[in-house]
Symmetry: C2
Subunit: 356 residues, 2 copies
């Protein structure tokens, strides 16, 4: 099988980590019978400055027509408002209907000095406040701006269903390798704020309950947690959680919080997943402070590659990458500066490749 992968480095350190993602795909053992072809695609703030569009039609078209999956690096946010600019990743998620943003957060055997964390945040990726329907009126006391938070039964249902499926899949992997996880049962925690937003978050909560009550999820333990308590509990008892499903904005906030628990955003991958398509995306952003120094941590990208492969139905290839990355972290000889080490992007990559 040959997979065609779009490469969208974007801005900042996106350009330093996406090449590492390409390299690891090329280096996968031939025994997997997987081949890759690549196409370079533009998006981001620099693209906006050059062409007037942060997400050229060509990028979207090529992804839709030619590609099986993609890797997305990062985009800079301008520090002051720039007319006409808006985030290309948010647009891409909607245009390709990549409705789930999957963000696993996990300690490795060597890195967890406390209890092992092994959770995944499954974030709805197409609606909530991210519909970006806003307006501003000039009132007697100054400006008043409003934004729409939209929650639909359809999007809530499909995100909860994929969360349940991920919980079952994780359980399957755990059962195949006993002793690698502290969870004994698949669990999904529904996050919302229905005590204030009874209609919108209420709909999310009820729909999630319904979706997860399906027969195929009968082995999944379902719980819920108000978003503010969820942040509290996530920090007090992170080892407790397995799969957390949340509307878009809460998922965005929770996944950064969870990343803080494992030491560095430079470790945390994500995949934007739709039906038959997945974009791997490291969670760290464009990191202007370290841009151009060759010291960005490639781990988040390498794990995002693996995550993309999982959702393209290549679990064996994904497992190879996870294992190599975990070995690099556990040996802790080649770590990038965000992890307290001195290795460059290239040195970390080489160490992981050696272990493939």
């Amino acid at each position: 099988r040959t997979l065609r992968i779009g490469l969208i480095p974007g801005d900042g350190i996106g350009r330093e980590v996406i090449p590492a993602g390409r390299r690891i795909l090329e280096a996968l053992p031939s025994s997997l019978n997987l081949k890759f072809s690549f196409v370079d695609l533009d998006a981001g703030f620099e693209t906006f400055q050059k062409t007037g569009s942060a997400l050229p039609d060509k990028t979207v078209d090529t992804l839709k027509k030619e590609c099986d999956g993609a890797l997305f690096g990062a985009v800079s946010s301008p520090s002051t408002k720039v007319a006409g600019y808006s985030s290309p990743i948010v647009a891409l998620r909607k245009k390709l209907d990549l409705y789930a943003n999957v963000r696993p957060v996990k300690t490795t055997a060597g890195s967890s000095n406390g209890k092992p964390i092994d959770l995944v945040i499954v974030r709805e990726n197409t609606e909530d406040l991210y519909v970006k329907e806003e307006r501003t009126v000039e009132g007697p006391n100054g400006k008043v701006a409003e934004a729409i938070k939209r929650i639909s039964e359809r999007a809530s249902h499909r995100i909860s269903t994929i969360a349940g499926e991920i919980a079952l899949r994780r359980q399957g992997i755990r059962e195949a390798a006993p002793g690698t996880s502290s969870h004994s049962q698949p669990m999904v925690t529904i996050t919302h704020k229905s005590n204030v937003l009874s209609q919108t978050d209420g709909l999310f909560r009820e729909t999630a309950r319904q979706a997860l009550a399906a027969q195929k999820f009968s082995s999944v333990h379902v719980e819920e947690q108000i978003v503010d308590s969820m942040v509290y509990k996530l920090f007090r008892q992170p080892e407790y959680y397995d799969v957390i499903v949340a509307p878009n904005l809460y998922g965005d906030i929770l996944s950064d919080g969870a990343a803080a628990l494992v030491g560095s955003l430079g470790l945390v991958p994500s995949a934007n997943v739709g039906d038959g398509f997945a974009i791997g995306e490291p969670c760290h952003g464009s990191a202007p402070d370290i841009e151009g120094q060759g010291i960005a941590n490639p781990i988040a990208t390498l794990r995002s590659v693996a995550l993309m492969l999982e959702f393209l139905n290549e679990p064996d290839a994904a497992a190879k990458i996870y294992t190599a990355v975990d070995a690099n972290l556990d040996e802790a000889k080649f770590l990038s500066p965000d992890m307290g080490g001195k290795a460059t992007t290239q040195q970390v990559l080489d160490d992981v490749l050696k272990r493939l």
Copy 2:
């Protein structure tokens, strides 16, 4: 001066901690020349079940006409949707125009094994998604619900101004007691998500920048942080932050996150502040799991009493309470179960009173 204080225990452990709040006011040394009178007021889920209203008019009227301040305990959220019920504290904040929710989070000398945390979250308390304007339509693919997030220039300006004032006041207290804090300069961090919500959160950000550019805040260092990074940084580097100003929902989430950093929600106070009125409110909620056992931690309430007094212009009385509470925590002889101790609510209270 005599202050009349409304007592609103509400539900759950609210009924166990609010009496402790009353006791500490009664026990303040007479040298302060402060007297208190009290009026008991109803609100909460049980009140709703009895009377059909979670916040009786009488409670609001009495607070408006007779009281200088109040203490609010907690309210239960029903675990399934109950028609007609909605949170009385959210309503109270709006009806009394208590526009600022002030939530200090601080380690004491004895409790911080890492770096000392000494920050305060200043949360806008009247708008954002808490306007609770929602509607649901039945579409071809099922229900679609929408909520309004409203951000006004007026509310953003006054919350930012009070945040700046709090930063200056904290700096004054630090200068009067050198060595008690790690901050050398007053700082306000503006939290928003204007990279997605350019109009609403953009308005919050710009208005906050403007308000804090006023001459009187020239000594205040002003920064900003996107809400997801803010959660990440809050966990990685909490000692860095001084005053954090945020729209309502982000403030709600951030303050629970910050509470996790100091070990227990049972320690974290808040005050709902308007012009000339303040309601002290512990952040912990009604805690049905420990209700009725007499083991709720009264510290959050005692600190909320102090915070209320600060905003009623009684800083000396407030300081007495803070000092007594810190001494209880530092000695760590009478700690409630949430802190790993065995003391009852009454024993913790008695220990604090002894130190007044």
